[in-house]
């Protein structure tokens, strides 16, 4: 199975080489760094590590950057895509498991979860509560049961690649992507992974961002339900997959 590993990076020059090296060791696949407009020479470091690197001219947000990976994978005929964050928070050891699940289990979206199989993770109570809330909302709205809806470590099948190359949320895309996948009848699976925590840089979630995050994602789930009720997502699915 021809597989592409997309490493998403924003100002990760200090650690990107380590992430690339670990990913290379873990899985035999082509690696593509998507640099979301870094100003610290992340691109140079990635190229020096001997992998392809696509750099957005400005910092446009994680969804916009990730969609580039879908576009490239769609155009170049990759059968599967795995997204991993460039800050070292995702354990590369989970790459083979995600790859195998994509290849064997006929899954369209494989999510690396910090919560299955008894893995404990370093997040606070509030964050855990938020994740639980989102999981419950997802289950109620599209019937997909995941324990770690916000995890950015995930694998996509060819079908998911083609769909998301055309339409993907701009910011905080993780939960919405599961919602879309659920509404479109894709098969979503979860595999366990350990959470390593960011090795460098600040945590992305500030209180103001957290409030925006929860509001935005809740709204998009509600709108998703509305679209399902009015049948607009079905028409769009047909159009997107045509």
């Amino acid at each position: 199975m021809r597989m592409l590993v997309a490493v998403l990076a924003y100002n990760e020059a200090e650690i990107i080489e380590k992430v690339i090296a670990a990913a290379k060791r873990a899985l035999d696949a082509e690696i593509l760094v998507i640099d979301d407009g870094s100003q610290d020479g992340t691109q140079a470091k990635a190229l020096a590590a001997g992998v392809r690197c696509i750099s957005l001219p400005v910092n446009a947000g994680i969804g916009v950057a990730e969609q580039v990976a879908f576009m490239v994978a769609a155009e170049e005929g990759f059968e599967a895509l795995i997204r991993i964050d460039g800050d070292g928070q995702h354990p590369p050891e989970a790459l083979p498991l995600i790859a195998a699940t994509l290849a064997e289990e006929d899954a369209d979206l494989v999510v690396g979860s910090r919560y299955v199989n008894g893995y404990r993770q370093p997040h606070g109570k509030l964050r855990r509560l938020g994740t639980r809330f989102l999981s419950a909302m997802l289950r109620a709205s599209c019937g997909v049961a995941v324990t770690d809806a916000t995890s950015g470590f995930r694998g996509y099948s060819r079908r998911a690649i083609e769909v998301f190359a055309c339409d993907y949320p701009d910011d905080f895309p993780e939960v919405e992507a599961i919602l879309d996948a659920g509404h479109m009848g894709m098969r979503v699976r979860e595999v366990p992974m350990a959470a390593l925590g960011r090795e460098y840089g600040d945590s992305v979630i500030k209180p103001s961002v957290a409030v925006y995050y929860m509001s935005k994602v809740s709204l998009s789930i509600a709108v998703g339900v509305l679209r399902k009720l009015t049948g607009s997502h079905r028409r769009e699915t047909a159009k997107r997959e045509a």
């Binding site: 400005v58 446009a60 580039v68």
Partner: protein, 138 residues
Amino acid sequence: MPLEQTIAGIAIGAAMALLVLELLRRKALKERYALLWLVLAAVIIILSIEGTVLKKIADLMGIRYAPTALFLIGLLFVFTILIHISVVLSRQSRSYYLLIQQIAILEEKVRRIEGTEAQDEGPGEETGAGMPDMTGKA
């Protein structure tokens, strides 16, 4: 409607129209986005001159003080214009992101092609990856 109110209404409407026209003249505003503002200015002027129309509208809505209806109509217009602008903004951000993505993909493609060409000229092996010496950011 008292004369002062009529004059004030006309003045506000005219000032709005003049501002929009001046922005159009300087090409700071596109005609497409100026139309709704001009319509609002026209409505304010017309309703100020034709007090009876405003009175009728106010009566219909159960508003005793007619000028209040003028404010309400103006507010609804502004609401419509802002929603319109938000829709335009959403559409434009989508095109903007698409452009960024396409530029980035093309830039990498060019870098790779230039890399292979440079390798064809000199000695070197095919890596399929970008040339490490092309590190400059656009």
